[in-house]
């Protein structure tokens, strides 16, 4: 059965939307990883660049929203097309939020004002690395329609959660040893919490991708190891 001209136009418009989402995803991931690297190195200038780049991220998110609206008005999508365009709106919001977290962390870096860190960071960069890996997988799954890969993100998010707890434990010990470390410990804990939230947004994206391509709602909590059995 032959594809209609309208169908071709729909697919062209859809792939434009998807390309914008992929771009937004790369920008958000970039913001997050540059912010964490700036923190690690105590380097203010990349942190400033991340903060300055946020407007561009917001603009792109807005353009995606408008694009989805135009797409809907034009094609009145149904079935997978409908699920995709609705998912794109949600995914763009989640990605924008991940970018915002990069900005938050960058502000923290500027707040340090060249004071050295308590100790070399280990788990926080690891969290960032894992998040980037999650993001890349989510974007690929989104692009090629791979629900299986998307489901794997649910497990990765557990590792993020575990690392956050690890950071907390370590910081508590350090503060107990020397209370004047409290302020910085608090700041680092905040960063870890921010990264943990970024993991939640990436998990949302993975859930959306599964829904887009299967029509079934996937809940990350159904895939995670039950508490107490880790």
């Amino acid at each position: 059965m032959a594809e209609t001209g309208t169908r071709k136009q729909l697919e062209a418009d859809m792939s434009d939307l998807k390309r914008m989402v992929l771009r937004l995803g790369m920008m958000s991931g970039d913001a997050l990883s540059r912010a964490v690297r700036a923190l690690e190195k105590g380097d203010a200038s990349p942190a400033r660049a991340v903060i300055d780049g946020d407007d561009e991220l917001d603009d792109l998110t807005e353009r995606i929203g408008e694009g989805c609206m135009a797409f809907t008005a034009r094609h009145q999508p149904l079935g997978q097309d409908l699920r995709t365009v609705v998912s794109i709106i949600h995914i763009a919001t989640d990605l924008e939020r991940v970018g915002d977290y990069g900005v938050n962390i960058s502000r923290t870096v500027l707040g340090l004002e060249d004071r050295p860190l308590l100790k070399p960071l280990i788990d926080i960069p690891r969290m960032a690395e894992l998040l980037l890996e999650m993001l890349n997988r989510a974007l690929v799954a989104f692009d090629v329609g791979d629900a299986e890969t998307a489901r794997k993100l649910f497990i990765m998010d557990e590792q993020i959660d575990a690392l956050e707890k690890q950071v907390l434990r370590e910081l508590i010990t350090m503060v107990l040893e020397r209370t004047e470390r409290l302020e910085q410990a608090f700041m680092l804990l905040n960063v870890a919490r921010t990264l943990e939230r970024a993991g939640d947004h990436l998990t949302n994206i993975a859930e959306r991708v599964v829904y887009m391509y299967t029509g079934k709602m996937a809940r990350a909590s159904d895939y995670k190891t039950p508490r107490g059995r880790q």
Partner: protein, 272 residues
């Protein structure tokens, strides 16, 4: 469905549903229809409940009109048709030879694609059916005409021109007149075959609104080629393809995440 019925009969709910009301109003069982050598419907089976709107969608020529014409035996008018299988309305088979077809058509009204008012007054159009069934009392007829026109959301527009010709109304009004005519004989079921495809968007919107209201009193089965229309007005949607019923489910499910790949391809405009 059969299982549900036998269960109901085995454990009648106290003071509750009798088997007649617990079963679906229209049960289609392995229905086959042939026009001469052409096999048009190939084993259709599904249930339609009372007071619901069911949309039939599918590409042109897939058998939607043929199916609804089975529901009031309109195919009888076409020579060389052969029907196998069953359609039970309120539990009684309507396909057999012993059926009172005139009474069936009173109970199962039909509205067509092109508004086709009779060349007579608005009043006589609506009174036509009741008169055919022997109603002569002017007061009773007046009441039926008014109630039917009200139910068809046309009364306010034509109350002052009941003696005027039905064919002088606008297209949208004519279609609502045809709906009034169909409901004047107090049917249980209303069949509509693409009732808005000849109408402008405003008139279409009025008919759609009307269909949503009608379902309080009638069971509506509507053929539409407009999927947004089906999504707006139908509780359940049936997708026909090449004489088969591919998928039948809640409308929302059909239009957001259908189970069958062919349904998905159709609603997303990959063919049809």
């Amino acid at each position: 469905m059969f299982a549900v019925n036998s269960e109901t009969e085995a454990n009648p709910t106290p003071g509750g549903a009798t088997p007649e009301t617990s079963r679906a109003q229209i049960e289609t069982r392995d229905l086959h229809l042939h026009y001469g050598p052409v096999h048009v419907l190939k084993g259709i089976s599904f249930d339609i409940s009372r007071h619901t709107v069911t949309a039939l969608i599918g590409p042109s020529g897939c058998g939607k009109s043929s199916y609804i014409r089975c529901l009031n035996r309109m195919n009888d008018f076409i020579g060389g048709t052969r029907v196998e299988g069953q359609i039970l309305i309120e539990g009684a088979d309507i396909c057999g030879p012993g059926v009172d077809v005139i009474d069936l058509r009173r109970r199962v009204g039909m509205v067509f694609q092109k508004p086709n008012p009779f060349p007579m007054s608005v009043y006589d159009n609506v009174a036509y059916g009741p008169r055919l069934f022997g109603e002569k009392n002017r007061d009773v007829l007046d009441g039926i005409v008014r109630k039917s026109l009200e139910a068809a959301a046309l009364w306010d527009e034509v109350r002052d021109r009941l003696p005027a010709s039905g064919t002088g109304l606008s297209g949208g009004q004519q279609q609502r007149l045809c709906i009034a005519r169909a409901i004047a004989t107090a049917p249980d079921i209303l069949l509509m075959d693409e009732p808005t495809s000849a109408l402008d968007p405003m008139s279409t919107a009025r008919i759609e609104e009307l269909v949503r209201d009608l379902r309080r009193s009638f069971t509506v089965v509507i053929v539409t080629h407009n999927m947004q229309q089906a999504a707006r007005i139908a509780d359940r949607t049936a997708f026909f393809l090449l004489g088969e019923l591919v998928e039948y489910d809640d409308t929302l499910k059909i239009f957001t995440s259908p189970d069958d790949k062919r349904t998905e391809d159709y609603i997303t405009g990959r063919f049809g």
